[in-house]
Point group: C2
């Protein structure tokens, strides 16, 4: 999918990162002119970048109304996570007991980068943690699985930014280590449980709390702002 103009890729990558790092939050309008001016390119190029992002469902292009950062509904979020659970199981089933020493090293390096960033309080640890799952998918040797995982991971990040709580990946470093251990040992039964619980902890819990908030309704959510408005 990376066979386009250099400039298109630059804008695509820039916007993608900005969205995944929540600099551009869901719902944010993405006018072609403004982006083009920012990157020093014409609307033609920007449009293609936006279309690429739309094909990943990271942005939503509405006819005649412009592009906005995608804002998945809770239903879409649940669908995504359930499919991701299944696909991650496919990945580990293919890898279990089949890792080469070089691959193990690669995974450990990935985890270490994640841990360092986390320890030093740098926010990149989120990206590293997500990348861990992508690396796993790539190690299956199936470009298709890797491609799907890339989309799933990207959209997961978007959703976690929307519905998740701030410290959502605190324990994932140790969990990632355990996953690698089981992959090496070929302990497939425990592995499946680990992965399931890992994703459950990271993903599903986030939208469960979001569901609770949703059920409270808009009135309750706005309650804290009433006083603020009164004192103004």
């Amino acid at each position: 999918m990376k066979q386009r103009g250099e400039r298109v890729d630059a804008i695509y990558a820039g916007l993608r990162l900005a969205i995944l790092e929540q600099v551009l939050q869901p719902g944010t309008k993405l006018p072609e002119d403004a982006i083009g001016e920012q990157f020093g390119a014409s609307r033609t190029v920007v449009r293609r970048a936006l279309e690429l992002l739309a094909s990943e469902e990271l942005v939503d292009i509405r006819p005649n109304r412009g592009a906005v950062v995608a804002k998945p509904s809770l239903e879409e979020a649940r669908d995504l996570f359930s499919v991701r659970q299944d696909v991650e199981q496919l990945v580990i089933r293919r890898l279990c007991g089949n890792l080469t020493p070089a691959q193990v090293k690669r995974l450990e390096a990935q985890i270490e980068a994640e841990e360092r960033a986390h320890h030093e309080g740098r926010p990149e640890y989120i990206r590293h943690a997500a990348e861990f799952h992508l690396v796993l998918a790539e190690m299956t040797g199936s470009p298709l699985l890797a491609r799907y995982m890339r989309q799933l991971v990207g959209r997961s990040a978007l959703i976690l930014g929307l519905y998740g709580r701030p410290r959502w990946t605190d324990c994932s470093v140790q969990e990632h280590r355990d996953l690698v251990t089981c992959l090496v040992e070929g302990n497939s039964e425990r592995l499946e449980h680990l992965m399931h619980d890992h994703l459950e902890a990271v993903l599903s819990r986030a939208i469960d709390t979001a569901t609770r908030d949703k059920d409270r309704g808009i009135r309750d959510l706005l309650a804290p702002y009433v006083d603020a408005a009164r004192s103004a």
Copy 2:
């Protein structure tokens, strides 16, 4: 001018059908001017349609060298089929024992359409047979699974056109009936075997014979043409 997307969709759908029905064979060049003239649209619109097809990997856009109908390698074909095997298993696992009467009716109607077309020798039966799998995926209620299945089915058709033998779906009608029966009964164990064998028959056998041809090398493949050239 007309609504946005109207003409883009027309060109997209037209090209897609032409590719899947092998009117446009893998490797065929798709020049923007020629297509635009044919459909009465400018290159801008054609380009967008081609981008959409590229995101499904039905066409290959090479930088500065134009778009061609995708020509998956044997390796890509094997990857696709193995992932499709897995995804189809996910689909039936979600559906097994959970079909509503309305859904059963829908599936039976689909099979009947396939059978009629097949019986009357119309080539649409191929499209109906492929659609059966897409309908199954849609019945899971997961837009993501349906989306992935749509891509997988489309690309499968492309590959079968490339490597498959003419009469590749002769027995699929009965196999589809059996699948529905097991889905209704909730006979999950037999179901998984049925689906696996069904896909194996349709897909893998095609590329296995293709592999044999490949291994014969180009010299053998060209042998029949030597005499023809000599007598010319």
